[in-house]
């Protein structure tokens, strides 16, 4: 039985690892952090794997932990980061890196929850109900957070008309 469960977990993690890394990357803006967050999420899922399987939606479970891990990461590192007089990294003139990363950069101005709402709703295309379940909040909160988040994003990047659904 355990061997079967382990095999099931292996197959699940192999299949969903790239997607969770991308989710972690969009949420954190950092590849290293994305791997940390995704691995912690899968480890948590494995720890409770029989329970997760019984619940019937392991993808939602891991996704929720990735989102929570990101929010925790933001909190955990809050006191360990410090400001410097000038940004440590500056764009390289002549490249289009800045334009290519506009949206992901713009996400960084949002708080963890609003960022998660934008990513879940507009990238993963979750419904408002699914987004609310992932974030453990009400549908109304999802709507209001999405509205505020898009308004903030519009100050930084150009969004298509009618994006707010």
């Amino acid at each position: 039985m355990k061997a079967e469960l382990d095999e099931e977990f292996r197959a699940f993690m192999h299949a969903r690892w790239p997607a969770m890394i991308r989710l972690g990357y969009v949420l954190t803006g950092d590849r290293g952090h994305a791997e940390e967050v995704a691995q912690a999420a899968f480890a948590n899922a494995y720890m409770a794997w029989p329970r997760v399987i019984r619940a019937g939606n392991p993808d939602a479970y891991v996704r929720q932990i990735v989102v929570n891990e990101d929010r925790n990461r933001f909190r955990k590192r809050r006191v360990r980061e410090f400001s410097t007089g000038s940004p440590p990294d500056t764009p390289i003139p002549g490249t289009d890196l800045d334009s290519r990363t506009t949206l992901i950069d713009a996400l960084k101005v949002l708080g963890p929850r609003q960022r998660a709402v934008v990513v879940l709703r507009y990238w993963l295309d979750l419904t408002e109900t699914e987004t609310a379940a992932t974030l453990n909040c009400s549908v109304g909160t999802v709507r209001s957070q999405a509205s505020r988040a898009l308004a903030t994003l519009r100050q930084h990047i150009e969004l298509a008309e009618g994006e707010l659904r």
């Binding site: 382990d6 977990f9 292996r10 993690m13 192999h14 690892w17 790239p18 890394i21 991308r22 990357y25 969009v26 590849r31 791997e35 940390e36 691995q39 912690a40 899968f42 480890a43 948590n44 899922a45 494995y46 720890m47 409770a48 794997w49 329970r51 619940a55 019937g56 939606n57 479970y61 929720q64 932990i65 929570n68 891990e69 929010r71 925790n72 933001f74 909190r75 809050r78 006191v79 890196l97 290519r100 990363t101 506009t102 949206l103 992901i104 708080g111 963890p112 929850r113 934008v118 990513v119 507009y122 990238w123 609310a132 379940a133 974030l135 453990n136 909040c137 969004l159 298509a160 994006e163």
Partner: protein
Amino acid sequence: VSLHEQFDRELGAISPPPPPAPVEETMRRGTWMRRRRHATAVACTAAVVAAAIWVPLAVHWKDSSAPETSHYTVTVQPPGPTAPVNEIAYGTVNGKAWRILMGKTSPNDASFDSCAEMLGPAFEPEPVTGPDTGCYPPRGATLANPVAFDPPAFAVGPDPQALGLAGEVAANVTHVTVTLTNGTLLTLQPVTVYGDRYVAFAAPTGAVVQVTAYSRRGEIARAFPFAPDGPDWFLDTGWLRPGQHELAPVTAVVGSGRYTGGTGLFQGSWSVVLQQGPWGVCETLTGEDGLCGPGQPGPRRAGAQVVYKNGRYEICEGLTPLDVTRVVLTLPGSGSVTVQLAGGADAKYWAFGYTKAFSWTAYNAADLVVGSGRTSQP
């Protein structure tokens, strides 16, 4: 261009393919987390097993700043007559309301039913629920550990205001008191929810000084926060009986090295740090949870256990009686090394990272062997 297309375009442009999934390492990590939760130590020596009881304890990050002022107010009340059946307690922190319930109200599914849910403006900007790393059943209360607190859950956001804690209480506990830095004494009344008895409270981060459990006969035991990065954590294994003295604070490096082949959190250098204080004795591996024990003096036998494993790289933590003066490791093909020992109140500790099995021998001041063992091949 829709946001969805913009996400896809940017991710496709800047993201190199993700590395292969570290499945086996993740499963080991999950197993280790579960093992710590269930207080099962894996002996890495067949010859001698550590006699000390190392009980797993998740050490989550704490806000490193205690309240800057004692001008805060905290109240706690048992559920009122119209409260939900799963409510443990409610109250206020600085006038902001909070409620703590035990699971089963989550809209998600049955897999999340063991979480303590912390709701209300005191936990703003976001309530603390869901299957994050701090969400486990607050269970395991015994006569020796009268209150089993869940790992602390904090308000999420840039300015956490309140710490919420829920814990199962042993059958003989009539009430629990919480002493805060401003002198406030909270009294918690156990509440039965779904057949188990719990207490819960909320307070500003860093405000908790001591928790004391009482029976009808008086004080059962007291516990103090374990503070690796900050002030708020309870050491379930460190409950002190009336008359037992608190341990003097000691911090020491038990061992250090570099991960080989690690990914994610397990990269670069590692260290195991011993932190002793009123909470007991804890050894914490870099960036990970701690192994904690009450740290009370008593007879100890030399032993060792694996605390990290990734492929052929393992970290082994050893424990010896206090009279041991040196521990020598015999490495295959590399001679021998003497490891540093970090002394706690109850024992001395060492840690070593390795890819090949080795044997260890502990000597006392008279150069007599007081313990030895051999690791298994990673």
